[in-house]
């Protein structure tokens, strides 16, 4: 197989095997996998043959809403991975972004064309700062970014809860007061064409983020030097590239993507800041999205939509007796199969009759 076709075929095989494992588990627990696939098809096409409406655009709206944040956390993981870093911190950066967005949404009073961009910017900056911490520790003291980002996720969670519950005049001790209209991504127009789904303008910053990611990584000197560090740190240093600076910037920018996701969830899907008992898993979703998407913008778009579709299918599956957690099981299986690429490659090449060479997974992702 050529490198290029490998990048498309191997993730597809992993996705297929992941759904296969999921179906086996559904059958083993006495349910029908057909329910899951019907729910997923309904999610992307809006077709609902048994419902009162044969075509319900609400499902499409919800599917897009579910895809938006995980595409961003996917970009976040991928950006760090391109520099050879393994950031599990999107969860915490997202939370930092959502907290900052909440603060600006509540405290600033301005017309919408100033207020809303300010809210999103606050999310981006907070996420970036939260990402800069592991970046600095890694670059200056060579502290493993894996452990630090995990720890920071929990710090962000409790910091968020403390702030939300104690500072913003919270309601019922679980959420803040509602934001003013000027801070929201909500759109009555989008809601009306999708029969009152939660669809909002959040998809526009997501598309911009995808384009920026693609341009920076593929078309700029900076992106080139990031990738060089990811391929071979020592060679990049020898060639005069600033390895430490790239490490810090890479994790900072990765944090910015996740922070934006937090702002979009807070001011698009919801209209208030929330205290949470545990992280909601957008960060881990992002890891799956990036790995399946091969750390490329277009791949991340599609795999983000795939996992968004799974998430959007959860309520219907739950109502028909398949526990919603099946999506997490499928997602984890897919990631596991992506990690086992070498094995899959071996099987394919054995079928074709030549020998595979060992190679690490996920373009230079750190171990």
């Amino acid at each position: 197989m050529t490198k290029r076709s490998e990048k498309i075929v191997l993730p597809l095989i992993s996705v297929f095997l992941g759904f296969f494992i999921g179906s086996i588990i559904i059958i083993a627990t006495g349910r029908s996998p057909a329910v899951m696939f019907t729910a997923m098809i309904r999610g992307i096409s809006g077709l609902d043959i048994k419902g009162e409406l044969p075509f319900n655009p609400r499902y499409i709206g919800e599917f897009v809403v579910q895809s938006m944040p995980i595409i961003l956390t996917g970009l976040s993981f991928a950006f760090a991975a391109r520099t050879g870093l393994f950031s599990i911190g999107a969860e915490g950066q997202l939370m930092a972004g959502s907290l900052a967005a909440t603060a600006v949404a509540l405290l600033v009073h301005a017309p919408k064309f100033i207020h809303l961009p300010l809210v999103l910017l606050a999310g981006i900056v907070a996420g970036a700062l939260w990402g800069a911490i592991p970046g600095l520790l890694k670059a200056k003291y060579n502290v493993s970014e894996v452990v630090v980002t995990i720890m920071l996720n929990y710090v962000a969670l409790h910091l968020n809860n403390y702030t939300i519950l104690n500072i913003f005049g919270s309601v019922d001790r679980v959420k803040t007061a509602e934001f003013s209209e000027t801070a929201l991504l909500h759109s009555p127009f989008l809601e009306s064409i999708t029969r009152n789904s939660r669809l909002n303008w959040g998809f526009i910053p997501v598309i911009i983020a995808l384009v920026i990611y693609s341009l920076v990584i593929n078309k700029t000197t900076f992106g080139y030097s990031l990738r060089a560090v990811g391929f071979n740190k020592e060679a990049a240093r020898y060639a005069g590239m600033k390895v430490n600076r790239n490490t810090v910037l890479s994790l900072t920018i990765a944090g910015a993507f996740a922070g934006l996701a937090g702002a979009i969830i807070t001011t698009g899907t919801f209209n208030f800041g929330r205290a949470m008992s545990a992280a909601e898993g957008y960060g881990f979703d992002g890891i799956a999205v990036a790995l399946v998407g091969g750390n490329e913008a277009i791949g991340i778009l599609f795999s983000g939509m795939l996992f968004g579709m799974l998430k959007a299918a959860q309520p219907l599956m739950q109502s028909q007796g398949i526990p919603r957690e099946i999506t997490g099981i499928i997602q984890a299986s897919i990631v596991l199969f992506v990690a086992m690429q070498f094995g899959i490659k071996m099987v394919i090449d054995k079928l074709k009759g030549h020998k595979a060479k060992p190679e690490s997974v996920g373009e230079g992702a750190a171990t």
């Binding site: 710090v155 099946i326 997490g328 099981i329 990690a339 060992p358 690490s360 997974v361 171990t367």
Partner: protein, 317 residues
Amino acid sequence: MSFSLLLEMIPIALMFATPIIIAALGGLFSERSGIVNIALEGTMQIGAFAAATVTVLLEPTTPGAAWIGLGVAVLAGILFSSLHAFASINLKANQTISGTALNILAGGLTVYLCQIIFHQQRTRAFSNGMQKITVPYLSDIPVLGKMLFFENYPTFFVAIGLVLLTWFLVYKTPFGLRLRACGKTPQAAASMGVSVKGMRYFGVLASGALAGLAGGVMVLTADIQYTLSSIHGTGFIAMASLVFGKWNPFGVLGAGLFFGFSTALSLYAKDIVFLAALPQEFFYLLPYVLTIIALWMFAGKYVGPKASGEIYDAGKR
């Protein structure tokens, strides 16, 4: 802080420290053999779910149900970690990605099974869980007896026993030497006829057994049922304890006790004058912040097994 308060706090601190110590010992076996296992957290969830489920189902009819639950937790942990072993040893998978996959899998799988078995997002609550014991004679020792041997969970003594066992196995036997060699210079170990694959399988499966046990211990002592947030990052704190403990069993014991105390402090802060003003959330995030600070302070000084996390390449020089 009055002395009686400290006495009261110690059993609680030991209760929190026990699963951290056991899981960190698991991480020790795995990393010493050369495989990073960041799925300690997920494996603990699997163990906790298994132990809680078995305890709930057996409790009405069987004496010692909690101990059977712990046994099942160990088996479940071994089974679960064999996925990581197969992926990272046989298929040369990136160990961080494979571990992450297992962490995601554990949360989904346990809650899925809860819904199938108990028709809710969590297991049913068990009525007793692990019983506290008072050791005869030893509990009569002044001060120390009250701290360690009076109304304490027996699982703490299990943890101490495991620390000693691990120390003996890893540092005092030829087997331990070979295990450590595989984590440091696997090629050299292989040249001396040591099976690197076999040793690493042992390391990962041992980490699965211990993390499973740790999860079971945690749910049966500190909780009333298994929920998605029963483990809440303890597996990651165990990983941090391994770093503090310099990949050494006694270091791990010390680090585990330290984190156990910092968790217990959050419960008792309201009774301690100079801590009462601090918010609850401060104590929740304390262990994580301390971990980061310690990693930063000891950066470069604490170095783990050299080949840990590297994909084994028999031909490398």
